[in-house]
Amino acid sequence: MTSTTTDIPPRDYRLSEQNAQQAFERGLASADWYHTDVDRKAMKALMKRSDGPAIRDTAIWIGLLFASGAGVVALWGSWWVLPVMLIYGVLYGSACDARWHECGHGTAFKTAWMNDAVYQFASFLVMRNPVTWRWSHARHHTDTVIVGRDAEIAVMRPPDLLKVILNFVGIFDVWYSLKALLLNAGGVFQEHEESFVPSAERSKAITAARVHVVIYAATLASAFAIGSWLPLALIGGPRLYGCWHMLMTGLLQHGGLADNVTDHRLNSRTVLMNPVSRFIYWNMNYHVEHHMFPMVPFHALPELHDLIKHDLPAANPSIWHGYREMVPAFLRQLRNEDYYVRRALPPTAKPYREDLHEI
């Protein structure tokens, strides 16, 4: 593993017209990204859709969610509720993110309505407007970690580490999410949303936001009515106390790696994880592979990894290993925001694509 610095102007993460223009002038926006060569027959087999794996996993997820939710209700008022809330919280506040993500791509299920139904449900759990965030994520794939273009950069430079830590209990994230939902419900879109949500889609975004806000308002009202936190522990609250796994895995996707490049091997991280985390995260630990080939469903990502790993930096062998790489990079970025971790490629790999980002 090596590291380097580059001479990049101070970062302005706003999705403004000026920043977009600069990104286009530097060849970074809507760019042609590096892809590992994969035989067309093999890629077709990997891209093939099926309902089976996602139905199985969704049945397990929903079953455990409702069973643990029932456990929270049954044990409310006793200390025994805490371990059950830990399970319910992660299934609600973390697993929702991966379902939102994979169903948003439309790759989890073969059947379109199944993708749409789980996408809407997961969008509510993760407190994201299903319309605006679909467009936000499309931009994230067009311009992954391109400053001034990507609205989903989790840790900007220099890193605000207090904010990162507090987001393990959803403090800032939930605040921003609720604010965005309330604004959208009132017909207001923020600057970054205006930059990627087409005008024709905004009425749908307003309707979706209003549905979410009404459910949260009803939950709050019921908590007041019965004089108990229980409704909030079941709806909305898990986005705070159960999101730690989403943060733990999500930060590893791009944290401490390069920005303003057009090679996902430089700005994304694949981390080998335990089976429980992979179930919660729906295999998004294969993140280089996902960004390079977003058409490949979650259940085929391990196979894709085996097929192209000769062209990728070695995967981090564990979550712990990933953090040992990422956290020191965050600390160095406090002193030098141009620092990033640049991982060695195996001898079998094609060199990093350097032509665009060093303009």
Partner: protein, 105 residues
């Protein structure tokens, strides 16, 4: 004025698959449907100008490899976001086992 342009032989495209065909300054996508018919559309997704030939053909749908937008390749109609604008479609004929598409000059 329009011309019929040779693309390839029919065996060059597997059933339920697509290939890229560049002609002049334009790129096209040529499809082989599960029923054995051939179709042609613009080659680039209307959302972000990505080559559709790298995408996935499912029945009569082509899915863009970058953002998963979908089109019906028989009609060009955009059927899944983020694709909003339809694709152009082009007449196709088979002559002596060769696929030809008709392009307007």
């Amino acid at each position: 004025m329009s011309d019929w342009i040779d693309v390839c032989v029919t065996d060059d495209i597997e059933e339920e698959d697509v290939i890229r065909f560049d002609h002049g300054t334009r790129s096209y996508a040529i499809y082989h449907s599960p029923e054995g018919e051939f179709f042609a559309t613009d080659g680039l997704c209307t959302h972000e100008q990505v080559h559709l030939a790298d995408g996935l053909v499912m029945d009569h749908i082509i899915e863009c490899p970058k953002h998963n937008g979908q089109f019906n390749y028989k009609t060009g109609q955009a059927t899944r976001l983020p694709a909003c604008n339809h694709l152009g479609t082009y007449p196709v004929r088979i002559v002596d086992g060769h696929i030809q598409i008709q392009l307007s000059e």
